[in-house]
Symmetry: none
């Protein structure tokens, strides 16, 4: 739904509470064609009981066959069509390490790389240097780069990956990438695509030039490549788009970051799932909308550990009575995408989803699982971004359209 | 489907007859999560028998979570995407009371309101004056307003609501509303948004000025507010868009009105459901398409009377043999939206729908109800405006696309 269609229909109903519980990478696959998925294998008496009072379906995070990263997948859940609301890699990198981006900051995702005597790239990942080396190199650059009038931040991410942030007045990030994406070439020049980005392009080139001098005797990371120049987007705020005071509860920076990107408040990182529910309880009265993120389902899927993913789902199930005891008007249980242990990666498979509410038209389905969800009233492949308007409707927060 | 895509494919097949039977507010909710909806509770042997020879589904009138008013909901059933074909409130008010709008007329929805000594609004609804007072005030204004060169019509609607129509040459309705939507403010000036609307804006201001003088000693309705300035739309006619000679049969003006809005002929208001079927039979030979509107399902839902809604559905069921005896090539049974008795209001829940035709691929579903429809071939949440092209196809009225 377009925010413009929805906005005039928003109803102030601040007594109603909505919980969006996201089990990261929830969707799965059976290990054999005859088998069950992780969610179907897990014993989930509490989720199944909620299913009987819910409307079910499978949501598609992007387009058919498209596998989302965490950023776009969460934007969809928050009601922002991820193909329309695109986030640059630089900004996503900043979110992932909890870097506090400001409005004018230009962020880029960096790789340390190796170049030969002639400056041609021989390894785009500098032999996958360990994170420890990345930390040292970022410090070396931070201590020695000096560009008048701007601040330059270098933050290690993982292995050869780092975040570059340039902070200065009136910078625009519409700049070409320096990574040619192939070995055997020189790094490209950062060039302004539009006039307004001229200043940021010049600063970037000055940074690259100083960095190549500082790194030249390092091995194997004697150069760097930059991609995804981007800035904080100026999208409609979640609170204004949906008329909700929203709070994000998560254990990892990426998820707090993407929530903050749409203007949600985010609590400090929790240390366990139990603490996430503690936080939910403690902040219940002061907010309308709660995004609660469970990370470990995805990690287990990425590791190919079917049984671990099953046990984490069962752990979440055991926490459901605490959530239900708060009497949410609307509870959505879903994932941001599928991460089948069978594939050890994110996938495109649609994600089991249920909307519990006293106003939903129940499906007569007594199980929360991929197979069961397919027969549900939400449909077998509905766009993730439809969840928010439906949540608002079930929370009695949307007025009638037309007379 | 876009009319432009469809138009070149329309086939003249004037021997085929389509009936669109709309049970207003048909969709419902169970009173408890374990229960049945109104339609599922009703004993409907005739509808169930038709279901076995039909394709079923649940249609979504607008977007997910959006609750439609009667106007937009019917436009969708008539094949007009209600988010694209928008009707102003003024025009909808005129339809609702059977006012015969002309092409250049400017219509507005009016409220009588109360203002204090300084002209600030203290009650936007003038204490919800009874309809009788509204009738008197409309007459008072009609008798005393005098604006050279135009005709001004004031028609009571209900309680504090009235319809204003300004009739003159070359008027355009692109005017700002005078209702500030809050108390404590003066009524706003009606201003032209585009140059062509200047004349209508000036006439409106002159009307408001005279009306405030005429009303000043009335209590509590000593002023008025105007919203939704609009004119008859210039949309593709139903007959041309779909190649059908169409007839509307209804008991209430709103539904005859919205049918006339798309160019259907409408019979005079019927006085009972039986009379509606009499009218269908009497006009069978001379038309291709019949929109038959049943109002009382919605009224019962609005009143929260679950049992009454059940009994009206059963009454409609008892009339189905008379419709089937006419041997329609295509019969659609649906609602314009859901009106669950549980909510006492229109709602966003998708609406049970079936298309009966000798050419449909039946679903092997032997019941017409929300739960049964969800599993049907039309899908659990398809857009209402897809019904018309499907009806045409099943009536053998669409040619092959491409060679």
């Amino acid at each position: 739904m377009d925010f413009e269609e929805l906005k005039p229909l928003l109803k102030n109903n601040s007594n109603s509470k909505i919980v969006l519980l996201v089990l990261d990478g929830l969707g799965g696959l059976p290990l054999t064609h005859e088998g069950k998925t992780e969610l179907e294998t897990a014993k989930t008496p509490n989720l199944d009981a909620i299913a009987t009072k819910s409307i079910l379906g499978l949501q598609q995070p992007l387009l058919p066959g498209m596998t989302p990263g965490s950023g776009p997948a969460h934007l969809g859940l928050f009601g922002y069509d991820p193909l329309k609301y695109k986030v640059g890699r630089g900004v996503l990198s900043a979110l992932g390490i909890d870097f506090d981006l400001k409005a004018d900051d230009v962020a880029a995702r960096g790789n340390f790389c190796t170049v030969d005597n002639e400056g041609l790239i021989t390894d785009r990942r500098a032999g996958r240097i360990p994170t420890k080396t990345c930390v040292e190199l970022c410090k070396l650059l931070s201590d020695n780069v000096n560009i008048p009038g701007v601040e330059v931040f270098l933050k290690p991410v993982k292995e050869y990956r780092f975040l570059l942030v340039i902070r200065g007045r009136g910078l625009k990030a519409n700049i070409t990438e320096t990574d040619p994406q192939s070995v055997g070439y020189e790094p490209l020049l950062a060039q302004a695509i539009t006039g307004g980005s001229q200043k940021a392009a010049e600063i970037t080139q000055e940074f690259v030039s100083q960095a190549s001098e500082i790194l030249k005797d390092q091995h194997p990371a004697n150069m760097l490549l930059l991609r995804g120049f981007s800035q904080l987007p100026t999208w409609p705020k979640f609170s204004e788009a949906f008329g909700l005071k929203a709070l994000a509860i998560a254990m990892y920076p990426m998820y707090r970051g993407v929530a903050k990107l749409v203007g949600m408040n985010a609590l400090p990182a929790a240390h366990s799932m139990e603490e996430e529910i503690d936080m939910l309880e403690a902040n219940w009265e002061d907010n309308d909308f709660f995004f609660v993120h469970i990370k470990k389902t995805d990690s287990a899927g990425e590791d190919g550990d079917f049984d671990l993913k099953v046990s984490i789902i069962e752990k979440v199930d055991s926490l459901m009575p605490r959530i239900m005891a708060l009497k949410p008007d609307v509870l959505i249980v879903t994932g941001d995408h599928s991460t089948p242990a069978k594939m050890k990666s994110h996938s495109w498979h649609p994600v089991p989803t249920m909307i519990y509410s006293d106003l939903c038209r129940p499906d007569c389905i007594a199980e929360f699982g991929e197979h069961a969800c397919r027969a549900g009233g939400l449909g077998p492949r509905f766009p993730a971004y439809e969840l928010m308007p439906m949540a608002l409707a079930h929370a009695n927060r949307i007025e009638k359209f037309g007379a």
